[in-house]
């Protein structure tokens, strides 16, 4: 069970009080350059997800409280919420190990 605190109104609750909006910071390629959207970029936008085992950045909504969306960092193994930040804020710099971790793995296997 999740224990969530809304950073907007302070309401506390579990997953029945909040709504999960999935992975955060996905940007739609066509919004930046509608004439140059590669098949790869469109596929990534629609289907490819980070799915880390560990810290994950997500969007959540305070469904039974103020109704506002917010961002959160949550551990997908322990299910703990580690931090919250505003829905208009971009990803915090380095607290998430995942993108970095996957890059190192990639380098390792490429070197072989």
């Amino acid at each position: 069970m999740l224990m969530i605190t809304c950073p907007v109104c302070g309401a506390e609750g579990d997953e029945t009080d909040f709504h999960c909006g999935g992975q955060a910071h996905i940007s739609r390629p066509a919004s930046t350059d509608p004439h140059n959207v590669s098949d790869d970029a469109q596929r990534d936008y629609l289907y490819i997800r980070n799915n880390p085992k560990g810290l994950h950045r997500e969007m959540w909504m305070c469904a039974r409280g103020c109704g506002k969306w917010f961002h959160a960092e949550r551990d997908t193994v322990t299910l703990e919420f580690k931090s919250y930040y505003g829905i208009t804020e971009s990803a915090p710099p380095s607290s998430s190990p995942n993108p970095a971790a996957s890059k190192t793995t990639k380098k390792k296997s490429a070197g072989r």
Partner: protein
């Protein structure tokens, strides 16, 4: 392999069942194999079995980080049916269902396939129309299933609430008479025993921690028990797919979430069909031990904890108490969860990749037990021949690029 028969049973009974012996070997990993399969769930083991049986590839290994069948295969509620909406799905699920029919004989192992019939209730006008559409699609494809009315639902399942004064009265059901259940563990064990007998090394407690490649081709894997060389690597790890494929630098269209199930205390037989109530998110059948086997929807957030949450239990049980009022005073005996691998179109991935020799089979999500024999059959053929088997071809990773998704999100409204 010691064959099981009425005579072996009698012989062993005379010895007080002391001499059965281990059913498969526990070999040390060799330095090199012709093919390595990661993940000894049903899909990985069936793949190994058919690689050996249909393609004579016996110098192969299945690597499992825990114990074989300890993943979702050993945690599922075993519903088997093939009445999916899309042509591509009908082909693979019906191949699997038809292989289930003779699997006990094929494996010389009782997998307890029980084609007791699966009822998918229609509890809203919309659901009724959607299932009618599916039933027409299935009839065109020759899949045997039909729409039935409320009276027939009540006849097949007398404990069901057929009254009008509930929130979602039953309007009918979509019925597949040859759908049913099988024993989850027996599927893993039967395929493991069969594969082992043909020389396949099944190596448990062996976690893959790295994937090696050279010039765009697979060269081997690094494991908790040392390095193993191979030129063909098949990743079949369900909820861990993102992590495994990441080792090869391939990003996947997968999200891992928790799906849970529970059983009641055992009672006398009360229900001899499988009933799925998609609108209210619950399904139920009864095991041979008498427990009511109950499942519902997946938790709606990424989750690697391998356990379920209390709100989901509450939600499922609330729905089923209205559907089957007699269960309201039963106690829950056990509850557990598995980490399932969800794709955007709720259809699986059986695919080659841009890396030579790297194959992946995943995305079965909440409903892959029913597909194990067909998936193993088609995937083995794909690996052996280095080209997609015709039934597997539509399920390639490429479909997300060309926009040919196989949308089964309606058919799979609840997890099963």
């Amino acid at each position: 392999m010691k064959r099981y028969s009425i005579f072996s049973l009698a012989r062993n009974a005379a010895n007080y069942h002391k001499d059965w012996g281990p059913v498969w070997r526990s070999p040390e990993p060799k330095a090199e194999y012709d093919a390595v399969i990661v993940g000894a769930g049903g899909h990985g083991l069936a793949t190994a079995y058919y690689l050996a049986k249909n393609h004579n590839m016996t110098n192969i290994a299945v690597l499992e980080k825990g114990w074989l069948g300890g993943g979702n295969t050993g945690r599922n509620t075993t519903i088997i049916r093939s009445n999916y909406l899309q042509d591509e799905s009908m082909a693979i699920y019906e191949l699997a269902r038809s292989l289930y029919e003779n699997l006990s004989q094929e494996l010389n192992y009782n997998v307890m396939f029980s084609p007791r019939g699966v009822l998918m209730l229609c509890q809203t006008e919309h659901e009724l129309r959607a299932f009618k559409r599916t039933s027409h699609a299935n009839r065109l494809a020759g899949t045997e299933a039909r729409m039935i009315d409320r009276a027939e639902v009540k006849r097949l399942c007398p404990i069901i609430n057929d009254r009008d004064d509930c929130r979602y009265p039953i309007l009918g059901a979509y019925y597949q008479p040859r759908g049913g259940t099988a024993r989850h563990d027996a599927i893993a064990w039967g395929y493991a025993r069969g594969a082992d007998a043909m020389g396949v090394d099944i190596i448990q407690n062996c976690e893959v921690v790295g994937i090696d490649q050279n010039a765009g081709r697979i060269t081997g894997v690094r494991t908790s028990r040392g390095e193993i060389k191979t030129t063909k690597l098949a990743v079949v790890v369900a909820g861990s797919t993102t992590q495994l494929m990441d080792m090869a630098g391939v990003r996947m269209p997968i999200e891992s979430v928790s799906l849970q199930a529970l059983v009641s205390e055992p009672i006398k037989p009360v229900i001899d069909v499988v009933v799925m109530a998609n609108t209210v998110h619950g399904y139920m059948s009864q095991s041979d031990k008498g427990e009511l086997v109950i499942g519902g929807g997946a938790d709606p957030y990424n989750n690697f904890s391998q356990r379920g949450s209390f709100p989901a239990v509450e939600h499922t049980v609330t729905a089923l108490v209205e559907t089957f009022p007699i269960i309201s005073r039963l106690r829950m005996l056990r509850q557990w969860g598995g980490t399932v691998d969800m794709t955007g179109d709720r259809s699986p991935i059986i695919s080659m990749t841009d890396i030579g020799g790297l194959f992946v089979n995943c995305g079965w999500g909440t409903g892959g037990f029913k597909a194990i024999p067909g998936s193993g059959w088609a995937f083995a053929d794909t690996i052996a021949n280095d080209r997609p088997h015709p039934i597997a071809a539509p399920f390639s990773l490429n479909r997300y690029m060309i926009g040919h998704s196989i949308d089964e999100s309606v058919a799979a409204a609840v997890a099963h």
